[in-house]
Amino acid sequence: MKFLTTNFLKCSVKACDSSNDNFPLQYDGEKCTLQQNNDIEFNAEFLTNILDRVDWDAILTVAANLGNDSLPREKPVLGTSGDLSEDDLAVLRDLHTLLICTSIVEGQMQCKNCGHIYYIKNGIPNLLLPPHLA
């Protein structure tokens, strides 16, 4: 499961939708095994578009869960696409490495509202629920 996916996943429990604590999920850094895949092509324009959809605060929170406190506090502001500076490209390359190339192969994540634990197995998150939560 790519780091970017952590930015899209909330708790599956419907009752948690009324809470502000159902996103992002809390990642257990001790129990998460990370992997770096360097064969994924970097595409600046593509990443710029996707960056629009990213909730930066959630990126910071999850990165901290996983032991990375070095990210800038604010979402990087880039020049308009097609007109990216060298600095912009350097920022995008770093984000590519973090969001796209870094994945959680094994681990677990927990809803901060209801406490339900979801597992990531062989790189695939399992968001299914037991009947009493469904």
């Binding site: 790519k2 996943l9 909330k10 708790c11 996103f23 968001l127 629920l129 037991p130 009947p131 469904a134």
Partner: protein, 434 residues
């Protein structure tokens, strides 16, 4: 000034063709095309466009066409064609424009095989007076003689053309993608994998755009994810059945297909998830939803929950080794059957909440081919039903339904699953529609 172009199309899935061409035209803001001139019976479609750039944009990702040509003329015989070409008002201008470009000639035949001497035919165009080099490998301009034949019988192709077109090739279509994504050559696939051609056509009609997010809530082996990735979207899929998503290990799964196609930067993830208990955060804009929901034939329709809730009363308190059983890594939740109609209601509701205004939902729906049972298409008050394209099989058919999110002010017609459902498709399928 408008320029005349000839679109040369394929005669398969002809009832999907106009939907594809209209959707691609809209995607690139091309408004000048008169679609009333499109004829499903004919592979030829004459249009007017602003110029080559529009023609390239429009056709470059089309699956159901072969190519688009700047129109130079036509005729019932080669002699008539030559006369017609030289009589066109734009003839001198075209001749002059491309005079010094390297060039080559190509031939296309529809429903026939030519017995003519192609070299002699090329020489008969000497009046074009091109001065550029002939270059078979990287010609700047390719001129094409397209011949239409009348077949001698159903399986004997014609030998004498009945109509000919001549034009300058502007853009070949994306038909090579049908080969590239051919299921026969796909590393990981399953019994529910969707054929390449119609999955690509579906992605075109759904207007999957580069750099946007496409979601398939019933991803299975990822056929529609492949199609969406081909058109440059970041694709994410989910399925309640983890087996298909997992595949056969890292070497043979959905991700390995994307690596095989050298498009793995478009693939986000597949999630083991019940679509009706959705975990994609609710403020995430999903640009396109494209899917083939489970029909209940090859795959059961299931959602989370207990079929017999009584049996599960108190089970949440079961502990194994001091830990709640349902919180363990190896816990497998129970699932209960669900109806296709309810699932489609959920899908429409979800699309109305998640798609941007103008965003498209496209999915396939199966129906029995009974004359006396009306097929009722699911409707939602925020969604405009834009296309309903049918693919016929022997005793059943499936249709691609395409909706556009128009928002709460649209006030469209609405219906609900319980009122649509007359008989269960699965039951009818297994009774052989008798």
């Amino acid at each position: 000034m408008a320029t005349k172009y000839l679109v040369y199309m394929v005669q398969v899935h002809t009832n999907f063709r106009k939907a594809e061409l209209e959707s691609l035209a809209e995607l690139y803001g091309i408004k000048s095309i008169d679609f009333t001139k499109h004829d499903e019976q004919s592979p030829f479609f004459l249009v007017e466009l602003e110029g080559d750039q529009q023609a390239r944009d429009w056709i470059k990702r089309s699956i159901l066409t072969r190519g688009i040509y700047e129109y130079w003329g036509e005729g019932a015989t080669l002699e008539e064609l030559h006369e017609n070409v030289q009589s066109q008002p734009f003839f001198e201008h075209y001749k002059d424009t491309y005079k010094n470009d390297s060039f080559k000639f190509e031939f296309e035949s529809y429903k026939g095989t030519s017995k003519a001497n192609r070299v002699k035919q090329i020489e008969s165009f000497a009046y074009l007076d091109f001065r550029g080099k002939i270059d078979l490998k990287s010609a700047k301009q390719t001129y094409t003689l397209i011949e239409e034949y009348k077949p001698l019988s159903d399986n004997v192709p014609g030998t004498v053309p009945i109509h000919l077109y001549f034009g300058r090739l502007v853009q070949r279509s994306d038909r090579l993608a049908v080969e590239k994504y051919d299921l026969k050559k796909r590393p990981y696939k399953g019994t529910t994998s969707f054929e390449a051609e119609l999955s690509l056509v579906s992605a075109n009609i759904a207007q999957v755009k580069p750099g946007t997010i496409m979601y398939d809530p019933f991803a299975g082996t990822g056929s529609f994810l492949c199609a969406g990735g081909h058109y440059g979207a970041l694709v994410v899929g989910s399925d309640i059945d983890g087996r298909m998503i997992r595949g056969k290990g890292a070497a043979q799964n959905i991700n390995s297909n994307f690596r095989h196609y050298k498009e793995n930067n478009r693939f986000l993830d597949v999630l083991t998830m019940d679509f009706t208990h959705n975990s994609l955060r609710s403020n995430l804009v999903i640009d396109t939803i494209l899917c083939d929901p489970p029909y209940g034939i090859r795959e059961a329709i299931k959602v989370l929950g207990a079929k017999d809730p009584q049996r599960f009363v108190g089970k949440e308190n079961v502990e194994i080794d001091g830990q709640k059983a349902y919180l363990r890594r190896d816990y497998i939740p129970t699932k209960k059957p669900y109806s296709l109609d309810s699932l489609l209601d959920d899908l429409l509701q979800y699309a109305s909440e998640r798609l941007p205004i103008g965003g498209r939902l496209a999915f396939w729906m199966p129906t029995a081919n009974d004359e006396n049972i009306e097929t009722i298409i699911p409707l939602h008050s925020n969604l405009e039903l834009k296309y309903n394209c049918v693919q016929e099989f022997n005793k059943w058919s499936r249709r691609l339904l395409v909706y556009i999110n128009r928002g709460p002010d649209f006030h469209g017609k609405t219906n609900h699953g319980s009122s649509r459902s007359r008989s269960n498709f699965r039951d009818r399928y297994f009774k052989n529609f008798n």
